[in-house]
């Protein structure tokens, strides 16, 4: 018994000694657990829009039709949409940007978002998209097509309804909902909250290991990445970008902007379909077969508000699969999008 006790004590002492000898490493230091943002790493491509440094890049001829890719979240990033950059080889100018506070774009404290109320969504999502378009649009007759996925599709719809004369085409891939109640219902349906599920403890058990204050972006973004990168319900299996992947494997969630957007949504109860009845150009509405939270009936309900539309069901992929699975993109989605653009 005494011998066992000594062995146990020795093990603890050795462990403490080894840990105390190691170099201190902080979980909130940029670059340790999550990649640095554009304001922390000047080698990343960026543009300045409305007082924020945004991670952004564009491919293809500068004066050709703009296709602006708008990522999901709020708080996601554009990396999973990079398959779309093959459109540049077909003669289009393909634009990617991470929204303010998301991806590798500059972070802002929660207080900044709260200070934008009322009308915060208008101020920091619509105005930002407008700024991005203005940055890349080099002549007045240059056409602009929005390609949004998930939250990006919601934002694109809202923008087209708000500025119908500024947009020449609209491609929306699985907007969860356009009216606030539909948004909340979809989000609830797309996540599992079974008390006994692995998904639940994967999300909640983490909190005893890592905790972060309201504006400790590195910690909050890291935790957000850990709990939201795959989702069996919506059929997401992780991006397959093939050779379209960027030279740097860096993806980062924007936890604060995500929380802020939902708080703003609860306050404002936005209707992102407002004004879309004035957008008479045909809309390409895409949804997937593998998203259990997005059945045919839900797609029909959400698509109802678009006055002129073509509905396309992406077979064999999930919520993001229409853009983040390289094989599906190459064989099905890219030809479909090119065909849609030619039809305008």
């Amino acid at each position: 018994m005494k011998h066992s006790f000594k062995v146990y004590l020795s093990f603890i002492a050795l462990t403490i000694f080894l840990i105390s000898c190691s170099k201190e490493r902080y979980i909130d230091e940029p670059g340790n657990l999550v990649p640095k943002t554009v304001d922390q790493d000047s080698s990343l491509p960026s543009i300045s829009v409305n007082g924020a440094l945004l991670h952004s890049e564009a491919f293809g001829p500068e004066d050709s039709t703009l296709i602006v890719c708008i990522h999901g979240g709020p708080g996601g990033d554009y990396r999973y949409m990079l398959n779309c950059k093959t459109l540049a080889t077909k003669g289009y100018r393909v634009v990617f940007y991470d929204q303010r506070g998301a991806g590798l774009s500059q972070r802002f404290p929660m207080s900044w978002y709260k200070a934008q109320n009322p009308d915060g969504i208008n101020k920091f999502f619509y105005d930002e998209l407008r700024g991005v378009i203005r940055h890349y649009k080099i002549h007045p007759s240059q056409k602009v097509i929005l390609l949004g996925q998930s939250w990006g599709a919601i934002l694109a719809t809202g923008y087209a309804g708000k500025y119908p004369d500024e947009i020449d085409g609209l491609i929306v891939a699985e907007p969860g909902g356009l009216k606030w109640d539909d948004v909340k219902e979809y989000v609830g349906n797309s996540r599992s909250f079974k008390l006994w599920s692995e998904a639940l403890n994967d999300a909640t058990y983490l909190d005893q290991f890592i905790s972060g204050k309201e504006d400790q972006h590195e910690i909050l973004d890291y935790k957000s990445s850990l709990i939201g990168s795959t989702n069996e319900i919506v059929g997401d299996v992780g991006s397959d970008l093939g050779s379209n992947a960027s030279r740097y494997a860096s993806s980062r969630s924007g936890a604060v902007v995500n929380a802020a957007a939902f708080e703003l949504g609860e306050d404002e109860k936005p209707d992102f379909s407002s004004g879309i009845q004035n957008f008479s150009t045909k809309v390409l509405f895409i949804y997937s077969s593998n998203n259990k939270a997005y059945p045919d009936s839900w797609a029909a309900k959400i698509a109802l508000v678009y006055p002129n539309k073509e509905i396309f069901k992406a077979q064999g992929v999930g919520h993001s699969g229409m853009v983040d699975q390289v094989n599906f993109w190459t064989t099905t989605m890219e030809p479909k999008i090119i065909s849609y653009i030619h039809s305008l």
Partner: protein, 226 residues
């Protein structure tokens, strides 16, 4: 709604059902040299839904009796052994006045978390104080404590490096990576060799403002004394 809306939804959903379990489940009025062993089983809400098993041995020092032992718990899920927590430590009665008693608990702990992206292994400590009113057949008390994640080892999967961040730095992270305060109530009904216990408390992160996704804890347990 891609990816990270989960936290937002969990915050909304779990605001209505939140809990956690800790180890102070002893009816100090019933300790006896005849029953120096205590086996405890429980089901709890503690950063998830968990099942726990513990054993404590009584050291009957006259004015300051204390229990030493340990406990382990695992959350439910498809993969039972990827997450767990083990605690080893002591619970000691410090003050007794009539039926009021004040006790303290100090435990070292290690815990593990794993999902598709990362494996975390952590050493920490958990200490708490409890003031309670103890009778032979029942007890009621309040407690407050702090659970600190002192040092944590991160080991990321190839999936994380391929899809999220290629240059992530694995290894031991210190100083402390997290900590949560908790405060709440515990109560129980005692029979000759068995206690039925219930606990409930609120959990706050160490900045006293933020809260975990599961910001409460609850526990139903049974003690067997022998």
């Amino acid at each position: 709604m891609k990816a990270i809306t989960l936290k937002s939804i969990l915050i909304i959903s779990l605001s209505f059902f939140q809990n956690k379990m800790y180890a102070q489940f002893i009816n100090w009025e019933n300790i006896s040299n005849k029953h120096k062993h205590l086996l405890h089983v429980n089901i709890a809400g503690e950063y998830g839904i968990t099942a726990g098993l513990g054993y404590y041995h009584l050291i009957p020092v006259k004015r300051f009796p204390f229990w030493i032992g340990g406990e382990c718990s695992i959350p439910f899920g498809n993969r039972l052994v990827d997450d767990f927590k083990v605690k080893i430590g002591t619970q000691i009665r410090i003050v007794a006045f009539n039926h009021f008693q004040f006790s303290a608990r100090l435990q070292g702990l290690s815990r593990r978390y794993q999902n598709q992206l990362v494996r975390l292994f952590n050493f920490g400590c958990d200490f708490a104080g409890t003031l309670g009113y103890y009778r032979h057949h029942w007890f009621l008390g309040v407690e407050a404590g702090f659970d600190k994640a002192i040092v944590t080892n991160f080991k990321h999967s190839d999936w994380y490096k391929r899809n999220i961040y290629a240059n992530v730095k694995d290894g031991w992270y210190e100083p402390a990576t997290g900590g949560n305060f908790y405060y709440g109530l515990h109560t129980g009904y005692s029979m000759k060799k068995v206690d039925f216990t219930i606990r409930a408390a609120r959990v706050l992160q160490q900045d006293f403002k933020s809260q975990p996704l599961f910001p409460f804890y609850g526990q139903a347990g049974v003690n067997f004394r022998f």
